[in-house]
Amino acid sequence: MTTVICGRARVLGADINTDVNCSSKYMPGKDAAFVATCAFEQIAPGFAQAFKKGDVIVAGKHFGINSSREQAVHVMRLMGVSGIVAVSFGRQFFRNAINNGLPVIECDIDGIADKDAIEVDLAAGRVSVAARGIVRSVPPLPPEIQAILAASGLIPFLQKHPDWKLV
């Protein structure tokens, strides 16, 4: 994984409950591949269809709230989400994203519009939308978390580093 993500911003609102929108919890019997085709439909019709591999989800506060289910992250990986920039994250969702190699960055999203080209530098701690003159610095992800992301998730990380030597 590179530490710089470039993609299209796909904007969602605040308090996005990924249990409802993006895991199989409320679609019993449906697998992640199916859910990926209709994720976020209830709050943003057509979102999943128009989503392109490499796009970055941009959202308000508490993204991933309620979701203790890792399936929500599996679904986003299947959609091709390259990273999520949100004002804040639901606690367990944040863990699940990192454990499954999906970069999550807390940042003010004011002024970022749907389909803007966005760049996220994980190591430097910077979110920018050049077309709008937005350059925001955020605390960089701790090196430990970057190490897990670089390995594409906790399990592959531990396969390489069973001693947990993070940095």
Partner: protein
Amino acid sequence: MGSTIAEKILGAHAGGTAARAGEVVVASVDFAMVHDARAANALEVIGKFGARSLPFAAKTAFVLDHYSPPPNAEAANTHTAMREFAERHGTVLYDVGDGICHQVLPEGGHLTCGDLVAGTDTHCTTYGAFNAFGTGVEGTDVSAVMMTGRLWFRVPETIQVELRGELQPGVWAKDVTLHMLGRLGAEGANYRVLEYGGSAVGAMAIDDRMTLCNHAAELGAKAAILEADAKTFAWLKAHGAREPRPVKADADAIYAQRIDIDASQLPPQVARRHQIDDVVGVPEVKGRKINIALIGTCTNGRLDDIRQAAAILKGRRIAKGVRMIVTPASRQVYLAAAREGLIEALTMAGASVEAAGCGTCVNITGHLISGDNEVVISSANRNFKGRLGNSSSEIWIGSAATVAASALTGSITDPRDVEGGQWRAVV
């Protein structure tokens, strides 16, 4: 610069002194838990490792509580897989009917003061009643713990909550947590730890302290922690826990927020339909008709809850047309309630008592599907629309005292207004 309880516990488990809020640490876990609703995911993650050894699997409990009894073949097969895994790896197994994870872990003596416990459930915050840092994680996390005994944690900020005075008779820890939900909003403590203290906490029995910490999950808290006292030590000893390593916060610890509540002024609280943070005092909604009354779950299915219900209902009948279900949180709670005659008293009053487990907390077993427009009053912790399998019905949430008083009259009732509603736990 002083430290909070959370900073000290996480720091000590990461091999140092206190860690600082915001830091990421890799900490040794004392005990882990996986319940049946998340086991399939955990077993799948472990499967990805191939035949790696799982040295920490013996310090992990598998609890068959959500699908209890299993409502379909898939759940039954998950149970089979869990039993086989436990047999092979020496994992502690709590089978169907043994009880809810958050009750059987403390009862089984698996945790003590100062411990770090990770389990696949948001209500792992309950273990904070014993001065342990208990937190909810997912399958990948517990798999990592079973492999290595360790896990990464971001050290959380802490909110200090001072509960001054003493709760009135008929008012419970449940009412405090509902009040907190009304005040901070659901997820209002997202990512933070709640450190509760003050005279009202000191006066609470262990059962009520568990409720206080359990319900922190609805506030989004990563953990909730109390200091230990003589009651804590006596309880842990009686349940065969390891030697406690009590942890206190420093006087100059840094808190993200301080909240001060005069417990003596608090009336019983209810969360109105569909929304756990739409909270009002019972006096404001009393008289609202109810159809179904539920006592149970990891929040309020303990012995003191059942004792309180029996204090209200013994020798009486629940209102005509009302259905009442009581689900003890564990087999031990069930047995104690049976020995005290509480099961008989409640059954004679018209309640049905179910085998221990998550019961009717959520529509998993299909045991209780409410009819259209029916109103449920429950001692559970969540009341999302449709949680009991019918989005045309409503779930209101209150203490076991409020639920029992409401079952008696057939409408939402302040327990302080009925005989027995002012019962107090003997501590």
